[in-house]
């Protein structure tokens, strides 16, 4: 079953955000995804960011910079997003395992060039940013105040198939 993409965005304007920051190791003792829910981004080192704030609570899209999700392979990172209804991450680039984990869970890790991320981040000045993802058209439409911006992205056929089938377990089970 396909996840719900797009919605209200939160901006984590820093490169190299690692999975220890997304979900600290001390919560890896949980054996259900749901139990992770309160701890999202608890250890993130970023000026002005409040892991308990309204902005994060509302967000269903995370926008960030380079090498997002580096470090530990823990799938708890995509899971903590998933159980907080964040099914879309948009960043300049990803660590391989995190990106694969997102698609393996049927979620989206969209890559946009730096110039586009700059524009997206600048949009915040117009107010809260809402994002629509058009998977067919491979585009992202961002709206804030009266401003609307459109960016195109690429998704491989395989990643698209994972999203469509709801994840790698479903895909592999049907095929192997």
């Amino acid at each position: 079953m396909q996840k719900k993409f797009g919605g209200s965005a939160i901006f984590l304007d820093r490169s190299d955000i690692n999975t220890d920051e997304i979900i600290p190791a001390k919560y890896l003792t949980e054996v259900t995804k749901e139990a992770l829910q309160p701890y999202i981004l608890e250890d993130l080192k970023l000026d002005g960011f409040d892991p308990k704030g309204e902005k994060l609570k509302k967000a269903t899209v995370v926008v960030s910079r380079e090498n997002f999700g580096c470090g530990s392979s823990r799938e708890h990172a995509p899971w903590v997003f998933e159980v907080n209804d964040v099914h879309t991450v948009i960043a300049e680039s990803y660590a391989r395992i995190f990106r694969q984990n997102m698609f393996n869970g049927g979620m989206l890790a969209i890559e946009l060039p730096k110039a586009d991320i700059d524009q997206l981040i600048a949009l915040q000045e117009q107010g809260d940013v809402g994002i629509e993802v058009d998977l067919e058209g491979q585009s992202v439409i961002a709206k804030a105040g009266s401003e609307v911006k459109k960016f195109t992205f690429e998704i491989s056929q395989f990643d698209r198939a994972l999203v469509d089938s709801g994840g790698w377990v479903e895909f592999a089970d049907a095929r192997y």
Binding site: P24, D43, N67, I97, F158
Partner: protein, 426 residues
């Protein structure tokens, strides 16, 4: 056109290519530990697919938090233990026989040249030291690996690192890899395989090669890899002697798993180690690296020697050489964790454990322990550690704690002085 080792392994293990560029490989090893596997097990049970593709290809260990520290970690261990029993998995290592995954599995001879290996653990790249393709994956990949024996990867490109020159005294594989990461950057090898070549690697032990490959992921690499050679054969000989008539025959067979001379690389980096100094990280990213001398004098609260990077016998020996007959500073807590029971026993027999204890170190059982701040050796807010592990992320060894990564020798010297110290200045 020649092929890289990784390309050869991909070709030989290709099970399916559902879409261009998506390579589904058959797996020779699926390694499991108690932190990332229980959720995969729970999901398989929930899907009514509680099966394993081949119990002899699964290798299972409880290593991250052992002995269990609380009800939750005891439950994780229990889930793994019961699953291993239920499927009659022959190679399952529980307390008393367990050690850090990336140390114990190679020690048992489970990793061979040309193998494909996955584990729900980012430092799985360690096993590339044997000429294998070994990649860390998430729990979903692990789950499909357990059930179907396959995993999907993008077509790999390889970065070739030529390590030239001769290693100066007091400089080790850890210093080399920290230096290489500082050159590549934390995402310089993303979606790439990092191939370590050259005369320096040829002379390295398997332990040192594992230290190199272990940290490939800190530059974003999918896997590290070294070419199998006589050093590899010697290491594996006790496990393979029934398969081959002579060591030379084994070597000839493994030569299949060497990159061709005319293989095409994404890029090449030449590093001359001859003038390299002992290295140490600062800040919260593994590519923030200085010489130990530059940070000389920085006070530390704890020194940790262990982990899948530097918890092997050779590492303990190097540290013990520095510690012998001396006491660590009063201001420092020293913790050493031999990475496997065999390493512990060998270190006992060599008198290394005695040296550590007499110098004031606490010797723990084989475990990941302090490395990821989940159990013994967690830092308090504002504390600083000198550590032989592989990650200096903010809070990695405990919220608000700071970690300086370095070699076992530098860590031992730092323990004696209580401040970051170049062992050569002692």
């Amino acid at each position: 056109m020649g092929k890289t080792l990784a390309e050869k392994i991909f070709d030989s293990h290709l099970r399916d290519e559902p879409f261009p560029g998506a390579k589904v490989l058959s797996l020779d090893r699926v390694l499991c530990h108690e932190i990332t596997t229980p959720v995969a097990i729970a999901d398989l049970v929930w899907r009514e697919k509680d099966r394993v593709f081949d119990k002899t290809k699964l290798k299972v260990v409880i290593d991250h938090v052992t002995p269990s520290k609380d009800t939750k970690t005891a439950t994780q261990a229990k889930i793994l233990r019961e699953w291993a029993r239920r499927h009659d998995i022959p190679d399952f290592f529980d307390i008393g026989r367990n050690g850090v995954c990336h140390a114990i599995f190679p020690e048992k001879g489970y990793i061979r040249p040309g193998f494909t290996v996955i584990m729900g653990d980012s430092h799985t790249c360690t096993h590339g030291a044997f000429g294998a393709f070994a990649a860390g994956v998430g729990t979903t990949d692990l789950e499909v690996g357990i059930l179907k024996g396959v995993c999907a990867f993008r077509e790999p490109e390889t970065i070739r690192i030529n390590l030239n020159g001769t290693m100066p005294d007091g400089v080790y594989a850890k210093d080399v890899i920290l230096h290489v990461i500082s050159k590549l950057g934390v995402n310089g090898a993303t979606d790439r395989i990092v191939e370590f070549r050259g005369p320096v690697v040829d002379k390295m032990s398997m332990e040192a090669r594992m230290t190199l490959c272990n940290m490939a992921v800190e530059a974003g690499g999918t896997s590290g890899v070294c070419m199998p050679d006589m050093v590899t054969v010697d290491f594996l000989w006790k496990f393979i002697k029934d398969e081959f008539s002579t060591k030379e025959a084994a070597f000839a067979d493994y030569s299949e798993w060497v990159s061709d001379e005319d293989a095409v690389y994404a890029s090449t980096l030449d590093v001359d180690v001859s003038n390299l100094e002992p290295q140490v990280t600062f800040g919260f990213k593994p590519d923030c690296v200085k010489t130990v001398k530059e940070l000389q004098g920085t006070p530390v609260d704890q020194v940790y020697i262990g982990s899948c990077t530097n918890g092997r016998l050779e590492d303990l020996r190097q540290a013990a050489d520095v510690l012998k007959g001396k006491k660590i500073a009063d201001s420092v807590r020293g913790i050493v964790s031999p990475a496997t029971p065999k390493i512990f026993q060998d270190a006992l027999e060599e008198g290394i454990i005695q040296i550590f204890m007499e110098s004031g170190f606490c010797v723990t059982n084989p475990t990941c322990g302090a490395c990821l701040g989940m159990s013994n050796g967690v830092l308090a807010e504002g504390e600083v550690a000198a550590s032989t592990t592989n990650r200096n992320f903010n809070g990695r060894m405990g919220k608000g704690g700071m970690v300086h990564l370095m070699s076992p020798e530098s860590a031992a010297a730092t323990a004696l002085a209580g401040v970051i110290t170049d062992a050569r200045t002692l």
